[in-house]
Symmetry: D2
Subunit: 346 residues, 4 copies
């Protein structure tokens, strides 16, 4: 089968590898769509210590069940499915509480196992048994379904940060994760969504959908948000970018008892801005970390997409054939698009 093998830093080989054999509990999925995200981009550009090469990347996968192991009953060939990439152990404390993204032994498709930038992807028994395969209804396209996983990460975030009806919510970053978080905040009832970005094109796109969009290069976001909230400050803030400035700004713009979603790991450069963490103490803020998503979050996200509550069809601004994967990764690096998908069928 066709596959894109990552063999080294910035070295992807478009090649043929053997179609995986299907064990009695496994499921083989013919990939239709696989999104490229910044994690894929980083693995390609700078590698990752724990990633053993060669490896097929890609973890935002939707496709059609091709073959099922003899003991599989949950899906059957022909089913349209979306794959939650985390394979939980199923028996640790976190798994047993349904928080399998925190599983002590979690493995990730597209990282520990081959992922979706290939004609077929094998979902191992462990994943099948713990519900990583989710049927997608006819109403949902494969492209939309490929956004389930990033939406699920946002669901995880907002379950903790508890966006409620009437909240003024500030999102930093207008990339795919910022947009998904903003859309989700909307359906949770946020009365006002303020999106902060640096890139004019992203601002422009977001302006059609959200209440206030602030271009960081042109305005002081902190002052503007203070004005917008009549000095009270925002109810919740979620940086969807790794910039420490977004944390500093979040803590500054939150009102007393505000809630902060720690969604992005920070990259602290030499000239990192000062973050006044003491504001958490003085303003009695609550800060919640969120990292990845459980298979429950994945199911919730898929329902939000299937029911039409969260609409993402406009987010996929570029679709590329398999052959152009490397170009696609470079586009992601350049942030040309909101969401970019590889279609294995074109």
């Amino acid at each position: 089968m066709r596959a894109a093998l990552l063999e080294g830093i910035q070295k992807i080989k478009m090649t043929q590898i053997p179609k995986p054999t299907v064990g009695k509990g496994d499921v083989l999925v013919r990939v239709v769509a696989c999104g490229i995200c910044r994690t894929d981009m980083k693995a390609y550009q700078i590698g990752q210590r724990d990633l053993h090469l060669p490896r097929v990347l890609g973890h935002e996968i939707s496709g059609i069940v091709e073959e099922t192991g003899s003991e599989v009953t949950s899906v059957q060939p022909g089913d349209r499915v979306q794959i939650a990439p985390g394979l939980p152990c199923g028996t640790c404390d976190y798994c047993r509480k349904g928080m399998d993204n925190l599983c002590d032994h979690v493995e990730i498709m597209g990282f520990h196992y081959d992922g979706g930038f290939a004609e077929y992807v094998l979902v191992p028994e462990n994943g099948v048994r713990h519900g990583v395969l989710n049927k997608i209804p006819e109403s949902l396209t494969f492209y939309e379904a490929a956004l389930t996983e990033p939406l699920a990460c946002s669901v995880n975030m907002q379950e903790s940060v508890q966006i409620l009806s009437g909240d003024v919510v500030v999102i930093f970053g207008g990339g795919p994760l910022g947009i998904l978080n903003a859309k989700l905040a909307r359906i949770r009832g946020a009365s006002s969504i303020i999106l902060v970005e640096k890139r004019a094109a992203r601002i422009e796109a977001a302006e059609k959908e959200f209440d206030h969009c602030i271009n960081l290069m042109e305005e002081n976001a902190v002052e503007r948000i203070r004005t917008l909230t009549a000095g009270k400050g925002a109810d919740a803030a979620i940086p969807c970018c790794p910039d420490p400035q977004a944390v500093a700004d979040s803590l500054a713009v939150l009102g007393k008892k505000g809630r902060f979603g720690f969604f992005s790991g920070l990259v602290m450069g030499e000239d990192a801005p000062h973050i006044d963490w003491n504001l958490i103490h003085y303003k009695e803020l609550a800060v919640y970390g969120a990292y990845g998503c459980s298979s429950n979050h994945n199911r919730t996200a898929l329902e939000l997409l299937s029911s039409g509550m969260v609409r993402v069809s406009d987010m996929t601004t570029r679709i590329l054939p398999f052959e152009e994967l490397v170009q696609g990764i470079e586009m992601v690096a350049r942030r040309d698009d909101t969401n970019l998908i590889i279609d294995l069928t074109i």
Copy 2:
């Protein structure tokens, strides 16, 4: 000033009474709009033990500040205001926690004090100090503002019952409270709102706005909801009618871990249906009572209206001049309208 004095059962006298004198902490409001609700209707039709007559009824009030006592700083003459009808003591345990609807010594305008079916209404010092007067922005009409209090009761309910994004919510009753609860569930992110009613006209009106409307006279609501939820049951149910059947049906249609909003006191007649309360135990349901609203809920409701999140302009289906109050009360008894308002200025 003109006033409608309730003097006995079914006896309202449209008369002149002295304009109240304004103490140093009081505020006099010129009434513009005052909604008629079922409580007013019942007080008129069958009386109420604790209601000392004569009394001016009416507690869904909006108007313009006419005069303020010498020590009042929070509002000034000319301000457009809405009045939260509960006057809390401000010092009991419940008041101190911001749950002033549960105040041990609460008094109600339109019940313990004269209400809004008069040219002017006096807001006593106690109320002024505890925030029952809320300024309404230009964007909001007096009619819309008069719906703040019933919306606030719904806010109270849904804060407990925690409607969340993705919930399937069943509302029994398509009167004003049912509609407000349904609208509120919508902005809290309910993915599907099922409204159950008995009256064809109300069903018809609701069908434009909500996902599924079930006419109890034509269909078995329990079966229909089971089908709609593919056997899983609903996430939340709120009867907005005093009929025990709606409770029996709610407990039947809720899925495991479902949430039930006990919003309406039940009128248990001779032939009251059997309610299987044990379902709370076996399905691990949660049941939350809500009764009235605090001044905080009132403020939240007013914000939801002011920001345009909850739109109620279509709810006021009839506006009557002061002179037609008694006819209005009879219309409420007949449930001819969704919401009926007395306009004191026409």
Copy 3:
């Protein structure tokens, strides 16, 4: 092996049956202790529609691993273990959220499978994989460990009803479940625990441990609790008996915003007392159902016992050899003891 086979109503045969064969995922446990609870008593005395006979009853089991299937890694022969009796499917929505007591396909040991009133009990693969076998530390006796399951049911209840530090908690019923709930409320920080009972012997035993014990036969519980709480009412109430009077009393003694634990299914006889459910509405009570326990609750309960936080050694007031099982069941019916255990080793 020796086994007590329930063959019909009030018909238990003490007999020999074949020792179960151990499949590759199964675990065979040599039973040491197995509690008799009222469910066992009822199955014996009046049967149960869904219980297919003959069957070995008993679900409060502790023992020693005798043999493990070839694929089992979680325990090994010689391990001292306690068994959570519910066998979850592991794949339904409830299982995936860690609420496996609500599993759509749950099976119960001692009901769908043979239980602990036998020399050995087979834990099927399904249970082994989903964590129903829990190792017990040396510090804990087998008798204490046999109380894990009923304690776990109480943990489930109090997680919902959220007993907090400072709460005044009323428990109705001084049987094993009442006592366990009271002990648990204590370590959750209840400032005052009021136990209501009908039986003098149970009252007497409880008086050493809890703040106030009320003998229903001698006092009006509602009045006494009102006095004890200076008119404010209790914060939480949990009836641990099937008597509707306990619900009526709970709703009467709870203060505003009080919490009610619906722990026992009600047996509504002819002369059932009137329960004023409307109090939930007017006092804004919260009511939470709890039914059984998940394997997570079981683990939590075992930790509470192992760490010494909840001490239950004084609760087992009678230990009988296997041969006296039927007499034991009759003692449970007579409520002679707080907790009664069959010791298979004596």
Copy 4:
């Protein structure tokens, strides 16, 4: 009356000032006991920008009502009382929700108004009306009651951080606030309390009461806690000292989904240790700020003391007469004692 007037940095004058006159809503309290806390110490040693001098410090006050204004009904001369030092405005959003420590206009006794290091202290109308005066039962000594306010700060903290039964809780700092937080965690059901300190004397005292005490000067706290929790990490951590190292250690020792109480503002010196805030993201931690206490927290704390749930009689390790206030402040600076109280009656 006698008073200790702070007139400048390190300049307290023991002098006579006029006894305050009592307005119609005010209450004059004869001070019996007033604790010295580190805030008083800092105001004395380095001043505070917003503190207008001369001022009488002291905000951990208990005493006897001497005189009440004509309109005061809540207390009467002779009542034993404790004073919550924060005077809320009563009308801002925070006050109305019962979170008056976050009041937009809060004033503090012993800071904006004269405090308790004097023969008498005047509680202004604003405070009286909003419940800052709390009667103390006979069972409680004035010394114990003087610890209400710091306990209330801990109540505020643990309401957010939600210490629950079974939790492993780590407290950094064995000063009065660390000890109070540890005592409170105990009654909320913590199964294991680990106290980390630098000072041998404080460790020694704490060892009698708490499960594990770690002397930072002798052991690596992070490693020890990992061992104590078998690698799982702690459930909650609360630094009660301004040392950034305690935050770094907290984030390191918390297990996944752990909760962190941001109780102390950090003093970030030149050589501040690196704090890996990203751990909040990766371990999905929750961080809650707490600052001061509301009058509700104060009441809760007083109940915890009055009911005997939290026992603090052993905490007051030194009692000094009024004349030795300055020496007392210096003792606090040296951390010679756990809690030090000025007794105005000796």
